[in-house]
Symmetry: C2
Subunit: 217 residues, 2 copies
Amino acid sequence: MDITARKKPEPSDKTTRIQEANRRVILDAALDVFSAYGFRGTTIDQIAEKASMSKPNLLYYFKRKQDIYVSVLEETLEAWLQPLHDLDPAGNPIEELRRYISKKLQMSALKPEASRLFANEILHGAPAIQTFLKTVLKKLVDEKAAVIRQWVSDGRLAPIDPYHLIFMIWATTQHYSDFDVQIRAVLGNQVDKPGFNDQVSQAVLSLILNGVKVRQV
Amino acid sequence: MDITARKKPEPSDKTTRIQEANRRVILDAALDVFSAYGFRGTTIDQIAEKASMSKPNLLYYFKRKQDIYVSVLEETLEAWLQPLHDLDPAGNPIEELRRYISKKLQMSALKPEASRLFANEILHGAPAIQTFLKTVLKKLVDEKAAVIRQWVSDGRLAPIDPYHLIFMIWATTQHYSDFDVQIRAVLGNQVDKPGFNDQVSQAVLSLILNGVKVRQV
DNA sequence: GTCTATAAGAGGATAGAC
DNA sequence: GTCTATCCTCTTATAGAC
């Protein structure tokens, strides 16, 4: 089941255009359903219906339910880490963090299903992406934590533990999509009004950036 | 399934000591299993085994799987909101927030299963606590948001939207239990070392409190 | 590639003896 | 109150016709 145990499709694995299109439809449907109900809570029937396809037909493209799940996760993970990749050691610290946070918020708002799929996987012990977290993710975070640490020791950021800063950025930027129903229960329909996302950005950015700005004494 | 649709046990519902003890064992086991695997991912057999009880015997105490789930949630919710209840309008704003955040962090660290059970329920649309969120939770948050807003307009806190402040406190304080495996993948076994929880407290408190402290100009 | 039919098994829930 | 045995539904996955 673990993601890293699967090989990536080779260029030699020729797929026709109709195959690609059908896989695309299935994966899109699967993201919706898996993120809403979790792995066990999702039935192949649900995915098939959403993909307007019969169950056996769907299983022609993905032999097992797990294969669909892992494929959806794989697709999501790459994109999910891109913003952190882009954190530039040569840039202005505050501006780099602002860009990172904004990008994360934007992605969560645009694809809340992806955020929830990921949250659910981790919440339940990350059975499918355990190795990925310990290798790819850890390596990237270590690398970017070093960048932030350097900024701090150069006096360009207030003293803060870089790992905890990264965790808190993750927590706050994904909270609005992962806990959407709770936010809605409290705030009502104002979350669907035009300015809401900007309001969230403003709140999250000001809180975190205020916390890391160097104070003039 | 919704929590508020169920009546609370009356004093007239006499239960023997052994009944109470067995229900206690079941609910403790159920919290562990439900929080680890979710509602659908959990089997009655798993709970029964953890409670050292046969499945039919367990079903003698709770007729249906849903009943166990709802009971566990009920127990958890009350305790979960207590710290917010305790936010005192008459207290010192920074100290009140510090106490609130510390208490939330402490509870998450002490009962990560409860945090994850709650997170999972909300992540999947809160089918069992929808009404609770829209009534009890909303009322409490509205009330405490008004308190924080007053502190701000009295100039005792930096200008910040009280709702978003509360959401960010929730996000950051529960992140370390909900996303535990991700934290572990990145930080390794240092999360089990003695000082780790203090380190987390320090990071979370300094970031958030710095963001709300009034700056002297 | 897509369908109908169905095998195979897991898991929730109950019957009824003790 | 607790157990063994069992029913029955739901769901994954496959067989085989078209």
